[in-house]
Amino acid sequence: MGFFSKIKNVFQNEEKNKNQDVKKEVQVYEKGLTKTRENFVSRLASLTKNHKKIDEDYFDELEEILIMADIGVNTVMEFMDRLRARVRKEKIESPEDLKEVIVDELFIIYVHDDVLVNKIQYAKEGPTVLLFVGVNGVGKTTTIGKLAHQQVEAGKKVLLVAADTFRAGAVEQLKEWAKRIGADCTYKDSGSDPASVVYDGLQKAKNENYDVVLIDTAGRLQNKVNLMKELEKINRVIGSFIENAPHETLLVLDATTGQNGISQAKAFQEITNITGIVLTKLDGTAKGGIVLAIKEEVGLPVKYIGLGETKEDLQVFDIEKYIYGLFKDMM
């Protein structure tokens, strides 16, 4: 039984069991990914319909579909090679049968043999420190607001640290989020040294027994040497103040990002110890396929996805649901 039929069963069973929570979660995925899915799936479906047999035309069109989903160019080229090999070896003839193999292979790219953990790694004692990094405009501050909201809801004492002292209005934006969700916020005037804001925040967190500290940093393009050095310093300050911190460093990535996503992942991974990706803006038409290439080439898994602008619009990433969301109409 291919992966395709496996997840189909999983979801049918879940629905049979009337597990309301899971069902609700799946629906949010489906809703957010509707636009994403419509394009991608309708094209895959018509690909299957339009081609009676598997020939070069079929492969060309499949390659186009995958490239259009922003899955990395190298990843797609290798994927196509593997697929061709499987078609030859397993003597697959009808596009209908190949559909399952395609999903199967996509799943393999992402998962490999890894055991993927999407839960936040909490500190055994003392505050858990989460650091958010990324290029400009990906949604770091909004993501922090949403994730902090979940922590507050879970009854944790939450502190936000406004270490984006560069962008105009960034401190105010985080303060407004703190107010909205009922968390506290450490900040200084814009233009202050971000590392010193972090220092103050961590001191406050220790003294006043906060459970979770979420640190916002300024957006920086990964080729700006000075800004990357600044991030290195922030990271060092955190590590020297609280052992093993930051416990999570999350790279926030815009789903509309193309091939540059790989360069972003590599550069930020070099400076900090990235533990996962938050894929934002997945409620648009972008597919965020670059995360498959990032997982394959840099080894970074997605932990959360952002599906909108309200405080509830953040979900734990689940590759099975993600693929299910993409391929639902095909099943």
Binding site: K35, N39, E64, I67, M68, A69, D70, V73, M77, V135, N136, G137, V138, G139, F166, R167, A168, G169, A170, E172, Q173, K175, E176, W177, R180, S190, L221, Q222, N223, K224, V225, N226, D254, A255, T256, T257, G258, Q259, N260, G261, S263, K281, D283, G284, T285, A286, K287, G289, I290, E309
Partner: protein, 435 residues
Amino acid sequence: MFESLGERLQSAVHKIKGYGKITEENIGDAMREIRLALLEADVNYKVVKEFTSSVKEKALGEEVQKSIKPGDLFVKIVKDELTELLGGESTPLNTSGKPAILMLVGLQGSGKTTTIGKLAAYLRKKHAKKPLLVACDVYRPAAIDQLKQVGKSLGIEVYEEGKKDPVEISKNALAYAKENGYDYVLIDTAGRLHIDEELMLELKNLQKEIAPQEVLLVLDSMMGQDAINVIQGFHDDLNLTGVILTKLDGDTRGGVALSVRHLTHVPIKFIGVSEKLDGLEPFDPERMAGRILGMGDIISLVEKATEVIDEEEAMSTAKKMQSGKFDLNDFLKTTKQIRKLGPLENLLKMIPGASKMGLNNVQIDPKQIAHIEAIILSMTPYERKHPEVIKASRKTRIARGCGQSVQEVNKLLAQFDNMKKMMKQMTNGNMKMPF
């Protein structure tokens, strides 16, 4: 920005240069390289297909077959096609209205608020006109604050009424602008998805009510294949007059620049090239195509230099150089002018063949120039005019004054000495370029 694309195209083209004749077989490799390079640069799949087939067709055409150097002609075909793809000629802003109304729209996080500040500063500088910024992002937390801070740092007024109806705010802002003699009204709108019907309707209403001359889509240059859906979505609803590409100072290959005009016929009007508020440049298709191919951009470089360097000052410096009277005071002035040119990395990239000389990845620490300035500023006026008097004890004092080591002071003096020697050679007419 486009280095990697340029390099790959260069190496592909280089292979062809060796052939005496272009055939379907010997350009096969080059065509595949070009195709992959463009795809990796996030150029839209359909555009890549059209581009490669059109280049191939022309390359195999009669004209090339007769040419003596088919390789050179192939390069020309690729460059011409790229220029064509980038939009042929550059399109200026329509600022005919009194006041001229410009509306900026786009997805969340594309850089609208920063760009609107840059655009206002650009218009003020270029045309010596008075711009007004209008805060119509009434959704994102602190968006109005952000625009106010941008306005404050530029000394440009921001019109805001808090979180009210954007149409209402804009109408009042227009009346205010007319009353107070503003020449440009720039409207900042909230980021939104092109598929968000409610918010797109809000933009349509806003456009209907205030009739802007320019509706500019602010687009992140790191966008992938989805860019075309976004452009099309905004264009269908608002009939865009132009696109501003942002974040081109990153290492993205920015293939989206190639897709925008070709698929929608909407011209790219500006590009954002730095985080600072003066980092906006008019988009020039031909220069961009040359830059992609690694042919350099010497025209941009020259223009940029003439814009910021005070001509009189430059003339007097040149005269002093020739007469050998160039002293550390003049050196200080020169470093200040160089700083005005912006990040030096950007300038280096404009030099033709920069990528071949390995200059495209050079990182220049702006602090180094600051250090040089600090050292000179720690000297007495007499020492600046007569650097030869600076011996051990003076060096120690200067070093202490600027917080640098004596070695750094020595290094600067040695460099200055070399420079003077080079200038003498220049005036003697046997100048040799350092590269």
